[in-house]
């Protein structure tokens, strides 16, 4: 599960995902990160933010599908697991390349954030209607709104980080 990729492998893995126009941003980000990496380790924060953004985009897709199928008989709602998986990966002990032991906890800092992919799962936990459908429109709408806000927050975070890098480069 843990991947100790250098910059190129991480780049390949990220660009392997089809997230459209975001790919161009990734190319720019790599160039920026090549500058900044020696000093700041910003690369991994950008990678994490990008994973979170694509998880939010996937969530939007899944919630839209749940809402579209609100009247479909026997449809079971889906959801996306990401934050919990990431937390688990953070807490899990990791083997260090070149070392003979596995540390008790991950204390290597942000330079080795685990690369976690969002996972879509079918949710059987909510109560089922008499037509076999378990989509609750109210909770779907609130989850949709929350996810949209989260997406906007992440986009603003990325934008402001880029602005800070730009300020460091240009000095203004």
């Amino acid at each position: 599960m843990q991947i100790y990729a250098g910059l190129p492998l991480l780049f390949v893995m990220i660009s392997g995902r089809n997230i459209g126009a975001f790919d161009e941003f990734v190319v720019c980000r790599r160039n920026i990160a090549d500058f900044a990496d020696g000093v700041t380790n910003r690369m991994d924060t950008f990678g994490l933010l990008e994973s979170s953004i694509s998880a939010a985009a996937l969530r939007q897709q899944v919630y839209a599908n749940n809402i579209a199928n609100v009247n479909t008989p026997n449809y079971k709602r889906q959801d996306v697991a990401f934050e919990t998986l990431f937390q688990n990966a953070l807490n899990a002990p990791q083997a260090v390349p070149g070392e003979q032991h596995i540390p008790i906890s991950n204390t290597t800092g942000t330079s080795s954030l685990p690369n976690v992919q969002p996972v879509v799962y079918t949710d059987y936990s909510t109560s089922v209607d008499n037509n076999g459908n378990n989509v609750d429109l109210t909770s779907e709408m609130s989850a949709l709104a929350e996810n949209q806000l989260k997406y906007e927050t992440l986009v603003q975070d990325v934008t402001q980080r880029i602005q800070r890098v730009r300020a460091a480069i240009t000095g203004s």
């Binding site: 089809n18 997230i19 599908n65 579209a68 199928n69 609100v70 429109l137 949709l144 906007e152």
Partner: protein
Amino acid sequence: MFDNSSMNISASGLAANQLWMNVISNNIANANTTRTPQGGPYRAEVVNFAPVNSSSSFQSVYGQALASTGGGVTVSSITQDTSPFQLVYDPSSPDAVNGYVQMPNVDIASQMVDMISASRAYQANVTAFDAAKQMALDSLSIGK
């Protein structure tokens, strides 16, 4: 996001609920129709929804195994309501048999309830579409 997938999903929901609304309108409009080309009174029509998976069959099976996202909703078929016709005593009607007229099996109350469901589901899909659009616009502002 820019492969328009979530917008397509919401659009499929809009189309399906629009079709449902058309069928409901047709049922209500024909609530008193006693003669049809097929003979007999009008039968209420029922819309059947089905989720859309991926396009090809292998992709569909693979996607289900991986629990990937669906592709929205579609109206798989429109079937006729097989419940019995209502009998109304009206000897003056030309369609009366022994004084009783067979009236359509359209239940106005349930049609109105369905109409509210369709309308609410349509609104929910519009909201989801707006959210997807706003998120796509937001992602355009990255790096500005």
